[in-house]
């Protein structure tokens, strides 16, 4: 006997719809579903329904740093945050540069969250993230890696980066680059600008990012190989990406909620919670990032979820590690982009769901008949305070802690199974 779930009265792109799920798959999405005997019914009146989002840039810390986060806690956080799939970066310990590490991660995900959120590991571009030898990308692809990246330890050498792109392309993988010139970014703790100059902290120039973005764009055009630019943060980079897209270069780019909402003045009081890499930029950069998201220069939203243990951020700014724990608050934070009128609700879904799937060749989720029933319900009006207790991640490190957010994930189904 088949199982049937009916979500009634949910709002999807301005329409009130009922969703019928049969045996974990979408059966229909329409104005009114017929009552079915034995069906489980969920009244979603006043709630929006979104296809489960995809976060293409997270750090789940396992293996090696389970005290910060592990695959179980990371996927729990993803589920509560509205994410049905996450792509986990390779800067674990050991680094995810072998099939053994990839398979271990996938096995742990399957064991802890059998119905999802799904984990898509990102393999290292170079062995040990050292930037010296190509990682075995054929092996990584076969083991289940969805992309390749040295995120956390960017590839500084142009020649090596070129070879990463070419070799990854051989196996159908796209390279995600953390655009950072390691010499310009060395030992920096925040954005270089008026604030860093005034408070006496060594800053990282926007050129450290945009110079590598330019390198990647030029290589992409020359090689005719796509490249994806990670967590873009500044005006100069988006101007280069816009120029590249106009030329037809196969470049895509992502940014994070914090680069769209807050700026380097968050560090006036040396707050380690606001220390992230690339650093929070100036208000003018934030404005440019918002414009770039609006016009599509920035293709997708990601969190760059980077949880840390409490004691690691309980120190001075220059001793603190980079990173914001982002999956708990990302949907609520970026919902303000819709309520502010910057992007439409359809664009909101596109940036968090459809475009990530397209760029990384992941299963699409268009509520089509027969597709896995992956969706979540969202209350756009609920106000809640982001407290450590409200966060599912082990990492409570976020500059948004204590802030009132509007909009909250209320329930989440993956493959028709209620996970939140």
């Amino acid at each position: 006997m088949s199982s049937i779930l009916i979500i009634q009265n949910a709002e999807y792109l301005g329409e009130t719809v009922d969703i019928v799920v049969r045996d974990g798959k979408i059966d229909s999405v329409g104005p009114k579903a017929d009552a079915t005997e034995g069906a489980e019914v969920f009244d979603a009146a006043g709630l929006k329904v979104f296809p489960s989002f995809i976060d293409c840039h997270v750090h789940l810390r396992e293996p090696g740093f389970e005290y910060k986060e592990d695959i179980n806690s990371g996927l729990r956080c993803a589920a509560h945050g509205g994410f049905g799939a996450v792509m986990a970066m390779a800067n674990t310990k050991p680094v995810n540069d072998t099939a053994a590490v990839t398979k271990t991660m996938l096995a742990k995900a399957k064991a802890t969250w059998p119905h999802g959120p799904r984990l898509y590991p990102v393999g290292a571009a170079t062995v040990g993230l050292e930037g010296k030898e190509l990682a075995p990308m054929a092996e990584l692809a076969a083991a289940g890696c969805a992309a390749i990246s040295n995120d956390g330890r960017p590839v500084g050498g142009a020649e090596m980066f070129r070879r990463c792109m070419e070799y990854a392309h051989t196996y159908g993988l796209i390279v995600i680059d953390h655009c950072e010139d390691p010499t310009l970014a060395k030992e920096t703790h925040m954005n270089e600008g008026a604030t860093s100059g005034r408070i006496g902290v060594k800053g990282q120039s926007v050129v450290a990012e945009s110079m590598q973005a330019a390198r990647d764009i030029l290589l992409s055009e020359y090689l005719d190989i796509p490249v994806h630019l990670a967590h873009i943060s500044c005006k100069q980079s988006v101007e280069l990406i816009r120029w590249a897209k106009q030329r037809g270069v196969r470049v895509t780019a992502e940014t994070c909620p914090h680069y769209l909402l807050i700026d380097d003045r968050e560090l006036e009081n040396y707050s380690p919670m606001a220390k992230v890499n690339p650093p929070l930029r100036t208000p003018a950069d934030v404005e440019a990032m918002r414009e770039a998201l609006k016009d599509g220069t920035i293709d997708i939203l990601v969190t760059d979820h980077a949880p840390h243990a409490e004691h690691e951020k309980e120190c001075t700014l220059d001793e603190a590690p980079n990173g914001i724990s982002g999956m708990d608050s990302a949907v609520a934070l970026t919902w303000t982009l819709v309520t502010d009128g910057l992007i439409s609700e359809a664009d909101f879904i596109k940036r968090w769901c459809h475009e990530p799937a397209r760029i990384f060749n992941l299963p699409a989720n268009n509520f089509e008949k027969g597709a896995p029933a992956d969706f979540f319900l969202f209350d756009p009006e609920e106000r809640w305070v982001l407290t450590p207790e409200a966060m599912q991640s082990k990492g409570k490190n976020t500059p948004f802690l204590g802030r009132m957010l509007k909009g909250r994930v209320k329930a989440h189904w993956l493959g028709g199974v209620k996970v939140v």
């Binding site: 860093s196 100059g197 005034r198 408070i199």
Partner: protein
């Protein structure tokens, strides 16, 4: 002290001069005048802070600032305890937070901290109940140096610095002395110029209340005082300077430069000096040099700072 006791010092901590109003800065300097007089007496010790504890927590090397605070505390009869990085658990990997909590448990009245991290003093101030005095944090601030510099200048210029122009010369980028002095001297009414090669200028310098120069010959024209900054010799290794001798040729303050300044222009240096690199030896020792005056002022100003912060609770609101 009658007048001082009527002024309720409003600050728990001294993190930077930016927190002080002009009135507060002048009150602190006025208080220092009285302690300066004590320092001229044959017997230089008063019982003002008897029973108070001052911890000198110097995680970064220091000779004159640490000694100056130590002397200041002892002259006020406070018990002073010195802690250095090499003598603390910081070398064993203990965090600043745990070191601070350990010190707090000993219930001091004042902790004077010098630390390599910008914001370290603020970090302690937000977590500890006792007064925190910033004796230099990273590149950020050195409020006691700025106050003693102002104190030294007051002896020549009087309380009102308006109409005076001072040039800060050298490594502005890494200088907490420069950052604090720019703020305080502007508050007191002086015009401030800075001069350094571009590699030693911080981002956003043009937004500071200063006139920026790279050419010393232009910068020094008509100024009433020149404050040289110490150049850390590792800046050459860091690629910020091609060659120390080239730096000396271009930016070392000499008699030739001083001749372009206003008649009787004063010369300052926070020390320790690299003679012949940032300041010519004869200029360091010339009649207009305030270098040793600055040291003497330092004791008086730090006595005032310890007095105001250690007795603040006794005097009123927290």
């Amino acid at each position: 002290m009658q007048e001082n006791q009527r002024f309720t010092w409003p600050h728990k901590d001294l993190l930077d001069v930016s927190q002080l109003t002009v009135e507060e800065a002048n009150h602190l300097l006025d208080t220092a005048e009285q302690f300066h007089e004590i320092n001229q007496r044959p017997v230089k010790k008063v019982p003002t802070l008897k029973g108070k504890s001052v911890i000198l927590f110097f995680a970064e090397a220091s000779t004159r600032t640490k000694t100056s605070f130590d002397v200041a505390g002892k002259r006020l009869s406070a018990d002073t305890f010195a802690l250095t990085k090499s003598g603390s658990s910081l070398t064993k990997g203990e965090s600043l937070k745990d070191t601070a909590l350990t010190l707090q448990a000993m219930n001091p009245d004042v902790i004077v901290i010098r630390h390599w991290s910008s914001g370290a003093a603020q970090y302690l101030a937000e977590r500890l109940d006792c007064a925190i005095v910033n004796a230099g944090d990273g590149w950020h601030a050195h409020p006691t140096q700025a106050l003693l510099d102002a104190f030294s200048l007051r002896q020549h210029w009087g309380r009102d610095f308006s109409g005076k122009t001072l040039l800060i010369l050298g490594d502005i980028l890494h200088s907490r002395v420069a950052r604090s002095n720019v703020i305080l001297l502007n508050k007191l009414g002086a015009k401030v110029r800075v001069c350094a090669p571009r590699t030693l200028q911080p981002a956003g310098l043009n937004d500071w209340p200063v006139t920026v120069y790279t050419n010393l010959n232009e910068a020094v024209q008509g100024v009433d005082a020149v404050m040289c900054l110490r150049l850390q010799l590792e800046r050459q290794q860091a690629g910020l300077l091609p060659d120390l001798s080239e730096y000396a040729t271009t930016y070392c303050l000499t008699a030739r430069h001083l001749a372009m300044a206003a008649p009787g222009a004063l010369v300052m240096h926070p020390g320790p000096m690299n003679r012949g690199l940032e300041i010519a030896s004869d200029i360091a020792d010339c009649a207009e040099s305030l270098v040793l005056t600055q040291v003497a002022s330092g004791v008086a100003v730090r006595m005032a700072i310890l007095y105001l912060h250690a007795t603040r609770k006794d005097g009123g609101s927290k």
